[in-house]
Each structure stands twice: as C-alpha cells, then as structure tokens.
Amino acid sequence: MYTEKVMDHFQNPRNMGEVENPDGVGEVGNPQCGDVMRITIKVDEEQDRIDDVKFKTLGCGAAIATSSMVTELAKGKTLDEAQEISRKVVAEALGGLPPQKMHCSNLASDGLQKAIEDYRARHAKKETV
C-alpha cells in the first residue's frame, strides 16, 4: 500500500522530537480524527533560515512519514523556500501516498506552515516591541 520511501520514513523517522526553546511551534490535527502533529523550528534570524526542525506525531504510518519528510525538506531552507513545501510536495517526495491518505494524514506541511507563521508572529512582535 505504501511506497518504500514512506515505509522508510515511517520505520526510521528523521528529526523526531522537539527542538529546545523553539522559535516557532505549529500544531495541527485532532486526536479524535486520529492525527496530531507538532512541528518545532529553530530559525537563524540573520538568514531567515530553518536551522533545526523536529516533529512529534500521533497518527498512522502516512502521518509519521510525512512528518519526517517535511522536516527533512525544511531543514536548511529559508522561510520563504520552506513556505513552498506544500502537501503535494511532501507526497511527491515520498513517491506518492494512497489516495485516501492524501488529505487526512498529510497535514505535516500545514504544521510546518503554522510553525513558520508562529515564528513570524513572534518575530513581528519582537520587532515592534
């Protein structure tokens, strides 16, 4: 059902955990729906670049694999670049997802976007302080 790449990221997830003192946090999903993802990022303020990113995920195989993949894709990217990481980009990087998983379990990029937003919101605040 899953591609080898999905299985690899599910079995050997990259960047699992939480970054310490994150600069941005994004949490999406709902345990009632079976999927919750929490993305934490560390941002190099000078370069506007994601230096570190980690995930914690409750969910099915696809949820875990997409979370892992999203962190791999985001790491080292500028925020602008990282904002281009859509669900579609993640699914493609994994060699595709089963159709029924395209939506429900492919929230990781939303989590990343939320984390970026969160960072920007905090940053904006800081600047205006």
Partner: protein
Amino acid sequence: MKNAIFLDNAATTRADPEVIDAMEPWLSEKFGSPATLYSMGSQAKQAIDAARQSFADLIGADQKDIFFTSGATESNNWAIKGVADALESKGRHIITDVAEHHSILMPLRYLEKKGWEVTYLPTDSDGVVNPEAVAAAIRDDTVLVSIVHANHEIGTIQPITAIGKITSEKGVIFHVNAAQTVGHIPVDVNHLGVDLLSSSAHKFYGPKGVGAMYIRHGVRITPLLHGGTQEKKRRAGTHNVPGIVGMGKASEIARHSLEAEATRLAGLRNHIFDWVEGNIDDIRINGHRTERLPGNVNFSIEGIEGESIMLSLSYPTAGDARPVYVSTGSACVSGSLEPSHILLALGLPAELAHGSVRITMAKADTQEDVDYALETIAAVAERLRSMSPVYKRGNKKCSAGNSSQGCDCEAAS
C-alpha cells in the same frame, strides 16, 4: 524475514491441511457438476451432501435446512433482503443493534432507502445487547430480528438464547450472524432458538468463497440468487464443489476439536489481558471480559494510533524480529474517516477507538508466539508514545484501573 505470528484470525484463518487435501480431487479430476446425472456428477452430489451433513452436525441442524452460499456476506444479505421481500406485506420493520457487521448494516441501510424502518438497539459498554430491549422494540409490523452471535471486533458474545425465546414467543423471524462463532464455540440452532444462521468457512479453517445459511424448515425467505434448481431452488449457481467439500471437512474437524481448543484459547486470552494490564500503562480493554470469543482480545492504547501500531508490528526493522499481524479499529484502516462503529458503540471516544489493537488467535498460535507478540506490542507502544505529541503517562484519561467501567475520556485536544 522470520516466521510471522498471525494474530488476525477473525479476518480469516489458514485452511487446515486436511481441508486442502479433501478439496484437491474436486479441484482436479473430480470436476463434474453435481447437477449432472452421470457418475462424475453423482459423486459430486454425494460429496456436497456429505459436507452438508457435516456442517449440519456442527450446528445441531437438520441437513435439509442447510444451503451453501459464497460466504457470510451473501448469507447475511440473503437473510435481510430475503425475509424483507417475503414478508413485506406483513410489515416493514426490522430490529438489529448498532454494533453489527457491515454485511448486516449495509443491506439494512439499503432497505431503509426503500422505506423500511430499522431499529438499531444500543449495546452496553461491553458491547452486549439487552434482550429486554429487543422485546420492547418488537412491533406488530416487525418481520425480522438480526443479532450477531459474537462480535468480530470485540469478541462479545450476545445472549442469543434469551433473544431467541423472545422472538419465538412473538413469532418474529430471528437471524443470527454466526460468522465468528461457528467452529469456535458450541453453536446449536435449536438451543439458540434461531430461524436463520449465517456462516463462512474461511473463519474456521475452511476455504474462502464458501459459506452456508441455515434456514429453519418453514421460514419464508425469497432467494437472493435466482436461476437453476440447485439447493432446492433456493440458491442457484453451479456448486463450488471443492469449496463445499472443504467446508464440510472443516466442520468435521471443528466438531471434534472445538471444545479443547476453545479452552486453550480462552486461557491465552485471559493471560494476554493480565499481561497487558500489568505491563502497558493507560490501556482500556474493549468488549466483555468473559462473555467473549475465546480467541479474541481487544484493547486501546492511549496516545497512539492503531495503523501505526499495526504497521510497526508487521514490518519490524530489526532483521531477526518476527512480524506480528494484528488488526485495529482505527479509521486509517477502515477505509473511512470514522473509527470502528463498534468501538464507538461501547461509548469509547474516537481517539481510543483509533488506538485499538485487536488480537485474534487460532489453533496455530502458541503461548510462546503470544508472549513474543506481547513483548513486541509493549515495545512498539513505548516507541510510538515517545513520538506522540499528546500522550502523557498516567494522565488517568484511560488507565487500566477504570477500564472495565468504561473509559470516560473526553476529546484530548
């Protein structure tokens, strides 16, 4: 990959080698159709009639009341639609419960679209249907009561004999879906007081693609498959001779081994419950603790999701690990967005339904296998919980202590 441990026997079982041996000649040289007159045909006819007798003996029925089908799904569709069609003029009301198998619920939903009324009785938090609720729900226009013998997911065994008394007093046809019980626990159509009973061979070490329907003499039911004169014109189609012979052999084996095997499996089942309660925090046991299929175990592991448990178990990363095959009520596996309607019927919050694990054992499964599986499940739970953004140990949302009173966790988000 090392020898897998198959703990998903409620989905399907491995055919007994004796069953396959019995089928062989009918797959190849003895290929004649029982409908034909010449010797090949009458051999085949004798073979299916012997199988019919053997299955009848397993369920305490008269062989004249047994009709072979393609499986329990067909039998269930036949029961629901066939009785509805035959008794439409008497009334258009059917009683069932919320925790039935889809092969009962979907035919009912179909009838509802045609104007039938269906009463879906609730279950208690162990999944049990109350016979008094059945009695109370019966109306003048009720033509059928259909209750599963034992639930395929949580293993709860229903009080069929008590319900059968009520339906027979009230003169309403009683159908029992016995897909999970035939061949596993004693089933006697007269003791149970049922009018119609469905069964599938592959659920008790027989082949896939064959099942049976018991129809008590005199019960009115329209055929689902019209056509030739097979099965006394009640179920048309060239007989699946090898399949039927295989079902007969599986019935014969079950009749002799069922009791000892049920005792052994119930022992393993209770051992599992004790073990998981002692070794995994924050779980909830689903289904009735004792009125339960001997080989069925079901529990929810808080804070993690079932598909990821299943996948982790079945595709272990360590090269020398044995894959363990279980099932789950998670939405990710059900093919819909909803988790198992059966777990929800118990009052489980969705997140616990998503985190359920079903272990269903069969005769090939040993204590050693089971213990290996348990250690693996505990390790997988530990690892997935370490990845979970919501799980906090002992948050008492759903600790083992209160599990049997029904877990009252609320949406955790």
